[in-house]
């Protein structure tokens, strides 16, 4: 037994991220920790590598109880963490980055030899003198692995390591990982990709809503039971009648491709949405749904393919306080900003002016109508709670009288009542004839809201058959299909 975590609990505010989680990692094994976004995987790993302290529970290394006060503490006990995104200093060379992580002296000649020895021993080739900024994404990841192992780590934690890798690069990484385990190390692989866990792991632990839903040797579990453990029981949702498809086509895309910033982006989407339909996209974060919605909202340019969207379009971003609202400005000002120049309070056309008193009284009405709790239209947007901010964003979006309404994770971080209010607004927008397109990381929300459901997996968006339940959607989400395999 190399690393054992037992009875780990951790809360952030009133939200319990982990509740009594046990995890035992033995020498010589690759242990996959599976779970959806928000299941608690990252919290658990940050407890294991010393970045977070648990509220309850114990950590033991080699059977000896330990208490990590920092990531350095954890490293001293042989735990090395490979973060999802590169933590290298771009301006420094490969060897300097390694020295920084391992605490080596930086005398150039010696450092170069030492780096060369290390990369040779690990069979992970890197040019010691190359600046980190010049490395490809895959080599950056390799540098992360070398950094984690530079101070003789025996336990390697990998957080979603394949997010940025091409399939062959991922395969190389897994070969290394298996080799590392065979030579007596232990590996914890955090992932939401089922087939990765199946391919690489000896042992699988599934987290769901902060508790261990399943823990078993790989050989003893079937893919279906893992999916069920991740997504939750096979609760069947009563198939809802689809709206009659006689509204006008308001969104049409065919062979749509959109480049992503750090992920591969959207590789293929072809569908149409008619007025009156509420379409929800399911998918694990980073599978192309964000790019799809932003392209439909005309915020990102399609790279290839056809995309036609009726106007006016309204967009509700998931990041409420950096992309949605400006916290320092008043509610009225935020409404004016978002409704744009089609608003009735914009006067003149050569020099457009804002009639602030008209905008202010309309904002007051909106606060009333959408039950936004605020001091008044002059209050700063930053003084509102998250739920009220979201209500204001929805109110503002609907004020555009949109024919197409696009919303990202419309109820993220909201309490049940606020979420129900938002859902009701989205439904009534569709009922009033708009085409509504949302995505959500919460499968329950997708199932509850969507008249039709699209699934994004690996950049490919396909439509789920009517009446598809959790189980089926879960399978579709976790399949790392290729576009040509669809």
């Amino acid at each position: 037994m190399l690393l054992s975590l037992s009875g780990i609990s951790k809360s952030f505010g009133s939200v319990a991220a982990l509740r009594g989680v046990d995890l035992v990692v033995r020498a010589g094994e690759v242990h996959a920790v599976l779970g959806e976004n928000g299941a608690g995987k990252s919290t658990l790993m940050h407890i294991a590598d010393g970045l977070l302290r648990p509220d309850a529970g114990t950590i033991a290394v080699d059977g000896v109880p330990v208490r990590f006060r920092s990531a350095r503490d954890a490293r001293r006990h042989g735990i090395g963490m490979v973060h999802q995104h590169s933590t290298a200093v771009p301006a420094l060379s490969v060897m300097e980055n390694i020295a920084l992580a391992a605490g080596w002296p930086v005398a150039p000649g010696q450092l170069r030899r030492r780096t060369a020895e290390l990369t040779a021993r690990l069979a992970l080739q890197l040019d010691p003198l190359q600046p980190a900024s010049e490395l490809s994404v895959a080599l950056k990841q390799r540098l992360e692995v070398v950094k984690a192992l530079a101070s003789d780590a025996r336990i390697l934690l990998l957080d979603e390591p394949t997010t940025v890798l091409a399939p062959t690069e991922a395969e190389e990484l897994f070969n290394f990982v298996r080799e590392f385990a065979r030579s007596g190390g232990a590996v914890v692989l955090i992932t939401h990709k089922l087939d990765e866990a199946l391919a690489a792991a000896d042992q699988v632990t599934v987290l769901r809503h902060g508790v261990v839903a399943l823990a078993a040797p790989r050989a003893e579990v079937a893919a279906e039971s893992l999916t069920e453990a991740m997504i939750g029981g096979a609760i069947s949702v009563a198939a809802r009648p689809r709206p009659t498809g006689d509204g006008p086509v308001l969104i049409q895309c065919d062979g749509l491709e959109v480049k992503g910033e750090s992920t591969p982006g959207l590789r293929s989407a072809s569908f149409t949405i008619r007025g009156g339909e509420l379409v929800a996209v399911a998918g694990v974060e980073g599978n192309g749904q964000r790019e799809l919605l932003r392209a439909v909202a005309q915020l990102q340019r399609p790279f290839r393919g056809l995309l036609e969207v009726a106007r006016p379009i309204a967009f509700v971003p998931e990041d409420r306080t950096t992309e949605g609202l400006i916290p320092a400005l008043s509610l009225t000002e935020n409404v004016v900003l978002g409704v744009g120049r089609i608003a009735p309070w914009i006067r003149g056309h050569r020099v457009r002016r804002v009639d602030w008193s008209a905008a202010g009284s309309r904002t007051t009405e909106l606060l009333e109508e959408f039950d936004v709790r605020a001091k008044g239209p002059g209050a700063a947007a930053g003084s509102l709670s998250g739920g009220n901010q979201q209500k204001l964003l929805i109110a503002r979006a609907l004020e555009r009288r949109p024919r197409v309404l696009v919303a990202e994770n419309p109820t993220r971080g909201l309490d049940l009542q606020a979420a129900a209010d938002v859902h009701a607004r989205l439904r009534s927008a569709a009922a009033a004839g708009a085409a509504v397109l949302i995505y959500s990381n919460d499968l329950d929300e997708v199932l509850e809201l969507g008249d039709r459901i699209l699934v994004a997996a690996n950049g490919v968006v396909v439509e789920a058959e009517a009446g598809a339940g959790r189980q089926r959607l879960g399978e579709m989400m976790l399949r790392s299909g290729r576009p040509d395999a669809q």
Binding site: T322, I326, G338, L384, N388
Partner: protein, 353 residues
Amino acid sequence: MRSSIRALGTSLLALAVGLLLLAVGLHLAGYDAGAALAALWDGAFGSWRAFTGATLLRSVPLILIGLGFALALRGGALNIGAEGQFYAGAIAAAWVGVHAGGWAPWIALPSVALAGIVGGTMWMALPVVLKLRFGVLEVISTLLLNFVAEALVSWMVQGPMQEPSGIYPQSAPIVEAARLPMLPGTRLHLGFVAALIAASILTWIFARTWWGFRLRALGEGPRAAEVSGRVRGNRMIAVALLGSGALAGLAGAFEVSGVSYALYQNLSPGYGFTAIGVALLARLKPSAIVLTGIVFAALEAGAGAMQRDAGIPAVTVYVVEGVIILVLLLGDAAARRGLRRQVVATGAVDGIA
């Protein structure tokens, strides 16, 4: 509303602390602080002649440049290069003014002003292109172009634009028709009125127009302005920066056509930098910039009198100006911390029930 009153309070406090420190410093250095401050006051406000011909006269470039600085910073861009744009405007204005022989005043005067605007705008064009094309920070490019502009003036007045006798490092005087008329009964030129008009126009732009509001939004929350407000940030910043350069260039033109009547090497005693303090002390509000511009101009006008009458070096007022800005920034930082503490104490992330 309450925050703007507090901001005014901080500004007044900053001014008071600056003057107090000046008095204490003078006293410690063995001067008669009372007499010095009296001389300062007299030089700035002591007579109608001093007020209009010294204080208000100096406030014109400070107000115009301060307005330009505020215009750019409202959108989130820092124009540290007003000194350079001022000189570029002055060169262009002097060139037109010298060659305007035979023009009627109603043609010559607008031409000179326009030349200043074009000069200042062109001088800003390079930083704007560098920013949009290559992401070069405007703080650095505008700052460095100040030195280039100063060198350019120096070369102009000893080379291509030197007065015909070739003795003095200055241009030939501009023609009569290109000289700004004085306000009746004063030595204050018409540019002061133009500065007041510019301040009102800018007030209107920020408070009433769709463009001005979007610029403000861009400065307060660039991502939200672009995503939710569909603001084309780069384009808007470019226009604001060019406008900022235009105002500094106009200040340079007024200095030539209203005060010096020729291009000199040290035409500006650092207006481009002092005006940053003017704009900051006014919290970027155009109407307040008129006031703070006059306050800073009074300090500089009074400094001359103080030197003459009390034998105290005029540069001490720069210390006062510096202290004012420092107190202001400290006051802001303290206000932010106080606010944060309040939020933590009440546990009020929601703040409002």
